[in-house]
Amino acid sequence: MSNLLSAELYKLRKGKSLFLGLLVVAGLVLLLYISLLMVDRIKSGEMGNGTGGVIVFESSETMTGELGAESMMQEVGIAGVLQQIFSGHFSGLILAVIVSIFVVKEYGTGAIKNLVGKGYSRSTIFLSKLLSTILLTIFFHLAAATISILIGIPFLGEEGLSMTNWMDVALYIGLQLLFEITAAGVFVLIGELTRNLAAAIAVCIGVLLFSTSLTALLDLLCHRIGFQPTNYWFLDLMSNCPLSEFEAEFVGRSVIVSMVWFVLAAVLGVIHFQRTDVK
């Protein structure tokens, strides 16, 4: 297993997709902060409303006809940007592409043939891929979080940083990491099932974006029996994860739900890989 892992990490190091993915995250975060900066400038009258396509509406709560004086940048803060990046599935989308490339490339290039039947059991081969994907996800997630924070510093200044509750931020990043690891496990399973890059990316993104609509529908259908599927689907938990005031029940449920889905994906992946011919 350690040999396979060493080779997988070497491939990751040599591949460009992980680093390109982080570059995209950096770009998105930068855009987000620039948008917030523009909102603040519009609100302060330094820029006209609608400049660069940014339109600021009055608050529905105050309905004063004014745009409000408070800084949107400070209101959203680092935590809010992190929430946009992780709960908004920005990083999930990029991760889906990176993991799909990482997994399906083995089938596309035929490199998987160099391993199967060469002294390693199929489950070992699959699990080494899964394990290296977890390491990839941890690196990607922490790097994406760090990038989001570092880019925010010049925009928020000392005031913004001092307003940030770093304990909450750390807990939020930790919970999101848990969800992203589970998502990565599901993406590996999808890659294994499809063995086609375009299909894998499409299905992964489909799951990421539309599965929550499906669980919402299931909520509606299961309403009478008092069961809420959204409470047990990790992507719903990912979207609904709070930024502060974490309840122990939510944290516990998140850990259990994530682990169950991850283990399920891993088991299904191993079974499929063991039973399916390698072309």
Binding site: N3, L4, A7, K16, T109, G110, L115, V116, G117, V278
Partner: protein
């Protein structure tokens, strides 16, 4: 007999259709076994079964005399269909991945293997910029990395230029003779295959229809006069006594093959008829290998 590969009734089906049909193959230690068949005959699927990339529907297989296939497959190197290589990496990086996968601690092994297959000068060139021949050589380097005792090569000379074909032939002969590696090789270029193969297996519609040695093949392709007669005993007496023929055989009842003095065949025909033998057929025959295989496979289009 010391078999590297022995299969009994190996069968594989896709979608209810048999693609490998009860194949009994015998590859002896030291053989270069030429595996011949049309496209879709089941060659690649059979090779994938042997390499463990696919599971058979039924049948038994022995590798190196053992049925512990997982254990024995470590001794196999294979290049089946396209070489499994990462296009965006260099040859060295591809080999480095294999070195790590196989836990080979000697870092020089990569350089040595690239040198062995003639890719040491490929340098920083990405594999996507390689010629087909270079890719094939890299595929073979990967297959050879753990010093296998048995090499499975599926169409390794496909698409190579004449120089590449000669290089590949020399490489395979070197592996077989110097490193005593047994080779199972399929190819559509039968003339080329006949220059290295010691044994042949012919597969048709999933079934292995014949296995024979290269000497037998040469004998079958030898130029001769075939005579189909009613009385072989009488015909042989006439050929020996009146025509002084000694180099002949009787491959099947009613048929004589004469291998000498073929330019005088019209005279034997006369003698046989005058001696009271009913001569049903008399024709000069002898094929090149490709012609022979075409006949065996049932039609002229075998590739």
């Amino acid at each position: 007999m010391d078999y590297v590969l022995k299969t009994e009734g190996i069968t594989k089906a896709y979608g209810g259709k048999l693609v490998v049909d009860h194949v009994n193959m015998h590859v002896k230690k030291g053989d270069i076994y030429g595996f011949i068949g049309k496209n879709g005959a089941g060659k690649t699927t059979f090779m994938r079964l042997v390499a463990g990339l696919a599971a058979p529907l039924e049948g038994n297989m022995e590798l190196f005399g053992s049925r512990e296939l997982e254990k024995q497959r470590v001794r196999i190197g294979s290049l089946i269909e396209q070489p499994g290589i990462y296009d965006a990496m260099t040859a060295w990086e591809n080999m480095e991945i294999m070195r790590r996968n196989f836990g080979i601690t000697d870092k020089q092994a990569t350089d040595q293997m690239l040198e062995f297959v003639g890719l040491s000068k490929a340098g920083k060139k990405k594999v996507k910029n390689f010629s087909l021949g270079m890719k094939q050589r890299l595929g073979i380097a990967i297959a050879l990395y753990r010093n296998p005792d048995f090499l499975i090569l599926d169409e390794p000379i496909n698409g190579l230029d004449p120089e590449g074909i000669i290089e590949m032939r020399d490489l395979l002969l070197k592996l077989n003779q110097e490193k005593q590696i047994t080779i199972l090789i399929s190819s559509h270029i039968l003339g080329e295959l006949s220059k290295i193969a010691t044994n042949y297996g012919i597969i048709k519609e999933g079934a292995l229809i014949e296995e024979f040695e290269s000497d037998e093949l040469k004998s079958r392709c030898r130029r001769c006069q075939k005579l189909v007669v009613d009385d072989v005993e009488l015909a042989v007496t006439i050929l020996e006594e009146r025509c002084h023929i000694t180099n002949y055989d009787v491959p099947e009842p009613g048929m004589i093959r004469v291998f000498e003095s073929l330019e005088h065949s019209w005279q034997w025909n006369q003698e046989l008829v005058q001696g009271g033998v009913k001569l049903m057929e008399s024709y000069l025959t002898g094929q090149d290998l490709e012609g022979y295989f075409m006949d065996l496979l049932g039609d002229a289009k075998y590739v």
